[in-house]
Structure formats: structure tokens, C-alpha cells
Subunit: 269 residues, 2 copies
């Protein structure tokens, strides 16, 4: 048993989908969430910058004495996970492997689709993992930069969203893909629309639940889970306004934040 | 005569529209451009963060020994201009006043519309300046967060862009506005579409040219302009990859960068 918290980080608020699944599956664990809201989004930025930002956050979480680090951001998982693992002795889990495993299981011998930010798709990380875990399976990937702002503008179910899906996913439909990895924390909010778009013929893989399951397995395997009937505590760090974060967080979690939210500033020289 | 360069900054690449107008109008001036590409965009962030980032950049430009600072970013102009002026003895020019003056001139007694990022519109800076410069004139404002990603996805003239304009500007059309301030550096790239949307009945104000004119006036008034037949030199600083910036800059400028592009990292403690 190890009472230290699990550290979870994202470029902004989207990682709260992963936080929520971990909380639901592991109610007695203590959780620390870090959202880099002053520098969000990461999805259009370079490998070097995404790696530097990710290392800074992982360092910060280590100083908060976490027992494990969950990279809830798809972009950071795709570009920085490997580097983070070489920089810390703590276990580090990203969202890619759990998502890929679920997609392979669902797809059978069919084609797997992946959608995400420009940085995630250009990294080739998902495509590479699929091929490594199931040789011979066909994988198609597409960056969809307009989907995050559409979610943030609350345009789910609008004609604008429908045309945008048609533009990004029209080819996947023609190809007849079997499963689709939603490789960006915002996309699950478009699940119903995407499902309708494919006439329910495609299994949508939301990495958040798969990742939470993997976190639980690792805690159990390493015997560092908390066995307690009490609820774990929660703490949040953000780099932009805590008030702005708390408001959006409530929409993501379906409840108000249950712990303090502290602003952390990256001090520049 | 003062040979020091003019410092121009933006959250990213968009401020190059202002850079270009200044270059065209003042060919012998030396120019230093700063694009905070690792932390872009500013438009959805808090006042405190936008002010802190702007002060850091202004400090950096002072250390580059500039003779004046041009805030090419609408969001930073709306939220940080006043603070920057108290922090430096250098002249500081933003994009708001030049745009507002042009809009008032064009509107006559008609209604003035303003579109920009969430932070720009919520600040009320444009609305307040219009009212201060021409008491009694009616001004309507609207945040349009989807327009920047539409430009970045090169969706000008698409049905998606048309529906988005309808959503954001439908009310302005019904009201019969006379002039519209494009209060974000990306929007001029949608000029033709917006003009068509209003059936050419609205004067579109692009702050970039107006700002360049004001920069020239100030240099002349303070006798710090460069009178020379030689072309001024150019230097660029960005916080994300210089290669990525150079590629997009070429589209904005219609020519390759004519000076070195250096990466500056905000070193964190």
C-alpha cells in the first residue's frame, strides 16, 4: 500500500475525461491533476516544445511526491512518453497503448482508423503501435484540427459539425473501417455524432476508460494501490486562472471540483 | 535619426500582417519580430496570463535595444497595452486605436461591428475606445473562436466557413452595420468571404495598414525614423520551431523571411 497520489497531466482540461475514469474505478486513490492551461493547446506545436513542456510537468509532479504519472494528453503521449520514461524512475502510463489494444480487439481483421491533433497524427505513434501489436492490420490516420474548437464552441449536432465530419471522415466511411480510435481527449464529446455518421457500424474507442483500467492493473501488480473505504482526496494545478478551469471542469466531470485548485506559474528567467 | 530597430510582437504568426504593412511603408527601418509560438494562442486565456506573457516579450524586445514596441496582437493590445505603457519608457503602439479610428471614419453615423477572439471581445477594449472617440455611436461585438482554425485549415470559401459566418455574423447583417473591425490578425484572410456575405455593403477595417500608418507618424513626430536609401534588416524570434515558423511566414509575407529566425526559450526555474 502506497498513500502517495497518482499524478495525471494534460495540456488543458481535456485530460479530465481520464481523471474521471480513474476516479470512478479507483475511488480511494489520491489524485493530483495538472493542466497546462496557459500554454494549451499542444496539438499544433513541435516535438521539441511538447517534450520540454511534458518534462517540466513530470518534474513538477515528482516534486508533489506522486507514485505514478499518467499522461492523459494524446499529443504528449504520442511525442513525449518515451522520453519521460527515461527521465523518471516512477511508472509512466500514456493513453496510446490502452486505446490501441482496445481498437485491435474490436476491429478483428478490419481496418483501424485514428483521428487526433496534427502533432499526434504526424508523430505516427498510433500507427506504429497498431502495427507492432498486430502485424498486418491496416491502419489509416487523419488529423482533425477543427474538432476541438467545434466541441469548445458547443457545436455538437450542428450542420457545421456534420460537414466537418464529412470532410475528415468521408474517406474512412468509404473504406469501411471497423474501429476508430478517438485519439484526443475532446473527441468523446462528439461520440454520438460520429457514431451516427458511421450508421453505428464502427466501434469507437475512447482511450480514457482503457487507460483507467491499465492504471488499476499496474497499481495492483506493483502492490501500490490504496485499500481503504475512505474516498481519496483530489488536488488540481493549472497554469492559467483556477476559476476559469473550475467552471469548465464541472462540465467535464458532471460535478464541481472536489479539491483545491492552485495556479502554478512557470517562472521565466 | 535613430538606427535602433522597431520591435513588433504577436502571440504567433498572425502579427506578420502588421509586420508586412510596416515593412512596405517604411522600407529602411530595421525590424525585429517576436512570435510566441510555443504559447499561442492567447485568445482564450485570462487577463493575468496575457498581461504576464506580454510583459515578458516587451522586456525581451527592450533587451534587443528596440526604439519602439508595436503590439501586433489584438488580444494583447486589448488586455495588456495599458500595462505595457506603464512598464517602459519606449513608445508603445497597439492595433486597437488605429482600427477604431478607421472604422468610425467609414461608419459615419452607422453601427460599427467588431469581431475577435473571446479574450479581445470580453475585454470590452474595442467597444470602450469606439465610445470614447465618438460618443453616441452604436457598437456591437462578437467573439468568433472558430474563424482562426478555419483559416489555419485553409477552409476559406468552403460551405463550413459560410455556415460559420452565418452563425457569427447573421445578427450583424440584420442590424445593417456600416463598418466591421476585423480585430484578429487572421481575419483579413477571410476578407473576400466576409465582404460577399454582406453583399459589399459593409466597410471592412483591417487594422494592419492603419497601424503601420500610425507607426510612421510617431517615428516622424519624434524624429526617430531612419532616412536612408538602403533596405532595413529583419530579425525574427520565435518560441517554437523556427523552421515551422519560416514555412508559414512565407505564406503570410508572400516571400521567404529576409532575416535570421532564432528560437528563444522561456527558461523555467
Amino acid at each position: 500500500m502506497d498513500n502517495r497520489p497518482i499524478g495525471i497531466f494534460d495540456s488543458g482540461v481535456g485530460g479530465l475525461t481520464v481523471f474521471k475514469e480513474i476516479r470512478d474505478l479507483l475511488p480511494s486513490e489520491n489524485l493530483v491533476y495538472f493542466g497546462d492551461t496557459a500554454r494549451v493547446p499542444y496539438g499544433g506545436k513541435s516535438v521539441q516544445v511538447i517534450q520540454r513542456f511534458s518534462s517540466e510537468i513530470a518534474n513538477f509532479l515528482e516534486m508533489q511526491n506522486v507514485k505514478m504519472i499518467v499522461v492523459a494528453c494524446n499529443t504528449a503521449s504520442a511525442l513525449a512518453l518515451h522520453k519521460l520514461k527515461t527521465e523518471t524512475s516512477l511508472p509512466v502510463i500514456g493513453v496510446i497503448d490502452p486505446g490501441v489494444r482496445a481498437a485491435i480487439k474490436a476491429a478483428g481483421n478490419g481496418v483501424i482508423g485514428v483521428i487526433g491533433t496534427r502533432a499526434t497524427i504526424n508523430s505516427g505513434a498510433y500507427q506504429e503501435r497498431v502495427t507492432r501489436l498486430r502485424n498486418g492490420v491496416r491502419v489509416v490516420a487523419r488529423a482533425c484540427p477543427l474538432l476541438v474548437p467545434i466541441v469548445e464552441e458547443n457545436l455538437m449536432n450542428s450542420e457545421i459539425a456534420r460537414l466537418t465530419l464529412e470532410m475528415y471522415l468521408g474517406d474512412f466511411k468509404k473504406m469501411g473501417i471497423s474501429s476508430l480510435i478517438l485519439a484526443c481527449t475532446h473527441y468523446p464529446l462528439l461520440k454520438t455524432m460520429i457514431s451516427d455518421f458511421f450508421a453505428d457500424r464502427v466501434t469507437l474507442v475512447d482511450s480514457a476508460c482503457e487507460t483507467a483500467r491499465e492504471v488499476k492493473e499496474m497499481l495492483v501488480a506493483r502492490r501500490i494501490s490504496i485499500e481503504d473505504v475512505r474516498h481519496g482526496h483530489e488536488q488540481f494545478f493549472v497554469t492559467d486562472s483556477p476559476e476559469g478551469f473550475a467552471a469548465i471542469a464541472e462540465e467535464f466531470l458532471g460535478r464541481p471540483l472536489a479539491g483545491e485548485c492552485i495556479q502554478h506559474s512557470w517562472q521565466t528567467e
